[in-house]
Symmetry: C2
Subunit: 290 residues, 2 copies
């Protein structure tokens, strides 16, 4: 029971967008899919949902292929920045059509969410602002009966109150009916507490994949006088440095050595997810397109 | 010398989107235009740049109308979420065309910024990710020779590092060549320090307009035991309340009375812009479309 991405590679005009990715998405888990602009997040989500084809590799759900397999594809839903809706159609009508397509679409919850977000279901899709287009697509994504829901930038254009409302709705619906959510976002601090697992893409490869507590347990800030910090972190995986006055900080990702005593002048603390992400993906070059 | 919005009203299908707005944008100033989803920010910016027509009211630049006035309109530039570019055209070509249209377009700075953002100018616009589309549009907006630059959600889809890079580029270009920027964004905390003036739209009206220091000087948090706080803030403009344990906080927007002593049990502090915004716009209903 899982969604498996095996050796997925995507090339475009001689450029590598995704480089032999291996990933497993387990049932009933909330994942964060993090990466800088152009890291290939949307490309990966589009390949998983069969909207584009990988140059190489396979995606399977419970060992069944997803390519041209409507029964299995129906268990997946991708909410993305692409607007699939006719601009002239009213939201009410779009909901009814979606409900007819998906047998178990939760229309009552959709109407309730529309009320919470002050979304008028009599409006036409084309008349919605950027933020309200996102809100409508989010509502649909939270109400489809799929087992795997992929949300590509779900808070694009949402104001702070509406972002909070979405995070709460996500927790509510997940508690009510556990399923897998894979969330790609650039507002990492806001969502960090919701994530059980995290996947970080950088330079077209996966650089981190695991449970959030396990990942953060290996992410450290080592602070103190420069020479002491350098001596302690020698040969460790230093992913970034900062200097403030006479104090130096080294950011380390990996286990600290048991046999090396921590000098009295040096402080060891844990990094949060946002800071880990920035340091892991900061120094490297970024591709431009996906 | 200023851009003046006078009694601008916008109605659509019997709904009021903007209700008799009066606003002045001075030269050489960075403005924040803040409002919840659906407050009418994009509608206002589209009216100012003559992309849509107001139901009523006028917009003038140095007393000249902007309606069908190419000379004056050329002094304005609106970067919005609408993609005006041909998907198949290469970015290089789009820059050259823009430079031909605007005599003083700063192509050297555009190329420099593209390098900083790792944007490949040989890519076609249609192949860019959501974030990189925003980046390209931002670069153009920072390089056109207009006197008034309107940025509607300029960091939509940008990762944290790229948002930082944009804020820095904005300061650099503004210092080099002062002009007016009007920035609409939902990431208020990040941009608050860059803003000189702020305009807050709520319920289709302007609820705050002024210099950021002046506005924040009138924004208070009054904390303490509930009865003491209530007594002190009676008849003041309380825009929100919070409770934590036995402590009550009232958020006040307006001058505090000189003749009312502050009880010893009560603490008075200032609010930041994000918190002021949330409290001013929280309780009210929000329209759905713009």
């Amino acid at each position: 029971m899982s969604l498996q991405v095996k050796a997925v590679t995507q090339q475009f005009h001689g450029q590598t967008i995704l480089d032999k990715l291996d990933l497993t998405f387990e049932p009933h888990t909330i994942y964060g899919l993090l990466g800088r602009n152009g890291a290939g997040k949307s490309t990966l989500l589009n390949i998983i949902s069969n909207r584009i084809f990988a140059s190489d590799g396979t995606v399977t759900l419970d060992d069944e292929t997803l390519v041209d397999n409507d029964a299995t594809l129906g268990r997946l839903y991708l909410m993305s920045e692409v607007n699939l809706y006719n601009e002239r159609t009213k939201l009410n009508k779009l909901l009814t059509t979606t409900a007819q397509f998906y047998g178990d679409f939760d229309q009552a919850y959709a109407v309730k969410l529309a009320g919470q977000f002050d979304l008028d279901l009599n409006a036409r899709f084309g008349k919605l602002s950027t933020g309200y287009r996102t809100i409508f697509k989010l509502i649909v994504a939270l109400c489809v009966p799929a087992d795997y829901i992929f949300l590509d930038e779900p808070v694009l254009g949402l104001d702070a109150n509406h972002r909070e409302l979405f995070y709460q709705a996500l927790i509510d619906t997940y508690t009510e009916r556990p399923r897998t959510f894979v969330i790609s976002t650039h507002l990492i601090e806001e969502i960090a507490n919701l994530l059980e697992n995290v996947v970080i893409l950088d330079q077209h490869k996966i650089v981190v994949s695991g449970g959030v507590p396990d990942v953060l347990a290996k992410a450290y800030t080592i602070t103190g006088p420069e020479t002491d910090v350098q001596q302690y972190t020698e040969s460790l995986n230093v992913i970034g440095t900062d200097h403030l006055g006479g104090i130096t900080a080294h950011y380390v990702y990996g286990d600290l050595p048991d046999d090396r005593p921590i000098p009295d002048t040096v402080q060891v603390e844990h990094l949060d997810l946002q800071k880990l992400f920035v340091n892991l993906t900061n120094a490297t070059e970024v591709a431009h397109a996906n």
